[in-house]
Amino acid sequence: MASTIRVRATSNGDTTEVQALIQHPMDSGFVKDAKGEIIPPHFIQQLTFEYDGKNVFAADWGGGVSKDPYVKFAFKGGKKGDDLKISWVDNKGATDTTTAKIQ
């Protein structure tokens, strides 16, 4: 199955800018379906971006984040060609992870 994580990381020497688009329903647990029944909560709880063994970005999410979340941030450091590892865990215990090369 294709990865749920699209990522692009570019370094200008000093700073690395990261953009990521993650495919996930992010159901809050407050929305009802057409039959009037609650759609159970199903959302990413932890999201981490790891570089050189350390987390450069870590998020603890709840049901307030929308479907298919988009994240953009920058961190000091990061060299072209190095690896950036992205992982998420959701409230059902499902996970996905991917590694991208910094451009």
Partner: protein, 286 residues
Amino acid sequence: MRLTSAIPFASAALALAALTFAAPAPAADTVDPVKDAKAFQKFFTDKFPKVKLEDFVNGPYSMNEDLHKQWEEKEQFPPYEFSLEMGKEMFSKPFKNGKSYEDCFPNKGVGIRQNYPYFDEKEGKVVTLELALNRCREANGEPAFSYVKDEMAALTAYMAFTSRGKPMDIKIPSDPRALEAYEKGKEYFYTRRGQLNFSCATCHVQSPGERIRAEVLAPALGILNAMPIYRSEWSGMGTISRRFTSCNSQIRGVPLKPQDDEYRNLEYYLSYVSNGLPISGPGARP
């Protein structure tokens, strides 16, 4: 008392609408699509002289600086990517009988979106891309997709993507029925409907760039070129059929069925008057 308020409200709304329009000379009775398209494009380029003709296809983003900046960023990582990928996979997957969408369309379905809708002289009606896709499915023993849900949106997203940059190229054959379909589409576009008494033109000709509640309105010129669109409001991809029916219900008019004649004709008219502008679909909108 709601009873007493209903009748005066309804007729007051219509009376007010009547007063807002001094009756100009009635239009000439011959249908001239070429003249219409010229006037249509001129209306919008005159109204927005700083917007390049091809940028009108970006809808609200060409109307508002701040939105434009946000959209530029969004285009680096467009929210429609997942739907687009799904559409590509769906398009290449064969039907149970071994055939595929490629067999139903010219050039295997690649780079042809700008020719839709077209007037089918055998059937005597307008055929849209969504309609053609479902007909392809049914001709090959597959059930039709809903016109307003994800699958049709993904398929049309993929087909639009293969035509990106190509100019809209709708043809009106010299068949009186084609001219009639075009004219009916035009009539639908300008006819006020729903309890709110809005026509498509009320928002998209009279008020592009202005706000309706929190949304910035798109100009009618090029409005279908970006379809289908990933709307943040929908948290997903939506077809032309979805937009037409939901616009109707938003102005408190009961929507017709997707791909009813009126909608097919409307799509024909709106696409034709935007001829020459590039296909930019699939699009992203607020």
